[in-house]
Subunit: 265 residues, 2 copies
DNA sequence: CAAGAAAGAGAGCACCGCTCTTGCTTTTTG
DNA sequence: CAAAAAGCAAGAGCGGTGCTCTCTTTCTTG
């Protein structure tokens, strides 16, 4: 099936990739609102109508970029996860949260595309749900591992209301049957909350409030771990040595271009 | 100063209001992306260029709508707060969170305008910061009251990293000097987390996961209260009677129009 | 009342997404 | 192998957008 079929097919693949790449470039530079089919075509030296041979509409192009973005943030999460195999669950959790946050800050427009405001009522095409859950699965893996190793405490807080419990039970059956129901509910809540913090950071809601963005996210992530029951290890003094958490070297390119117009969102 | 100055001035005020109202209507119906100056002008029976006598650009119009939205969600929070005077802090907290969430669900496009994705790097014009903080102040009021009444516990979790502590201390001096620094930091984190949950709900990220939206938000809100140190009252059994929290009658119009195109965001 | 400021109307510019038709090339098929 | 089919680029064009400029009318004010 995956044999090369001929010059035409190969060309199609290449052109499609080029379009996606140029679109991705413009997305990163200017944001989804300013992404223009005509501009992409112009940059590629083709006429705009030719582009419709490859993507039936602008929305379809953006959907492709959405999938890429989900994949990228998922890959960032998985990569961070992979580097933390033996560590205590809370540390692994914070590491993955930090990786996700760093990706978001480094790719604000892509992040906005997937965790910003879509048209409400829009249900994502099924192609997106797979890539979309990669990041979530990375976090779930930590919890499952902790559970396997007997390091998972029950989440704090009042018992679940019945409908929430029902939802969580259904979810548990799908993704992690061995985990306690309250833990599942806590994961979902904490997952949303993590993206609340990241969104506020990326979207500038912390602007005149928090300067120490990285440290703040770490702090919040640690709090979220606690909420799931990924308690600090037995020796809380050793838990998170300041130097490790608060000052990682790879600061990289967190500066954002800061375009002109506000909105058009 | 506020004396009426003449027919012209009065007309200007009225026309400005009419424009804002029509724009608001289109925003609610179609979303910010589809809000068009020309359409607003058309609906008002004027020509599009005339509209520029009142708003110098589309962005300015949207900024006005942003302020309105902040005011509306702030008013919703304050109104919910006002009805909970004698109640235990955790209950008040949940009530305000629920009011904010209900407003967001009822006005998804307006919510997206203020808590969705702006252009990153955009710093809001100073006109917006006042209205923007109304909702936050409502939540802070609960914490201050709890503190005054001796009902505030220190927030759980590890001690603050130094830079976070510095940010929180600066914030504390501005808004609530009597509160402990860790509490301030916890409020900021929890505030962001709350909007994470609400955003996931409004933007459909919970779509195939959580059906019991309202109960889930209550559950999450209760957890957030815990994180601030607004512990459950002394009698945890009486804490949140199922009927009160889980099933409020006013379900109202939570249905979202669900437009066609996905994105254009 | 006349000068000046404010407001509306209209034309026009440079974009946008998208469609349709027209030629040309590659692939498939009789 | 030639003919038919399918894929592709190009161009023109449609209706829409935000925004600017000029011209005329209307109201305010010295």
């Amino acid at each position: 099936m995956s044999v090369i079929k001929g010059a035409r097919e190969r060309a199609r693949i290449e052109v499609t990739a080029a379009i996606k790449q140029e679109a991705s470039k413009q997305l990163a530079a200017e944001g989804a609102a300013r992404l223009s089919l005509r501009a992409v075509a112009r940059e590629l030296g083709m006429v705009s109508s030719a582009l419709y041979r490859y993507f039936p509409s602008r929305d379809e192009l953006l959907t492709a970029l959405i999938i890429d973005a989900y994949d990228a943030i998922g890959a960032a999460a998985e990569q961070a996860l992979a580097g933390t195999d033996g560590e205590p669950p809370a540390d692994r959790w914070v590491a993955v949260c930090r990786a996700v946050g760093a990706w978001a800050v480094a790719h604000p427009h892509e992040y906005a595309l997937i965790y910003g405001s879509p048209v409400p009522g829009y249900t994502a095409p099924d192609d997106t749900v797979g890539p979309a859950s990669r990041a979530a699965f990375a976090l779930i893996t930590i919890v499952r591992d902790a559970h396997r190793d007997g390091l998972l405490q029950p989440p704090p807080g009042r018992p679940l209301a019945a409908p929430v419990r029902a939802d969580a039970a259904r979810l548990a059956a799908e993704i992690a049957p061995e985990l306690p129901i309250p833990t599942i509910a806590a994961i979902v809540a904490v997952w949303a909350q993590l993206f609340g913090v990241i969104s506020f950071e990326v979207f500038g809601q912390f602007n005149r409030m928090i300067d120490a963005r990285r440290e703040f996210l770490d702090q919040a992530a640690a709090g979220l771990a606690l909420q799931i029951g990924l308690g600090a290890a037995e020796s809380p003094a050793e838990d998170t040595p300041e130097g490790t958490i608060a000052a990682t070297p790879e600061d990289a390119t967190t500066t954002i271009p800061a375009p002109d117009g506000v909105l058009r969102s």
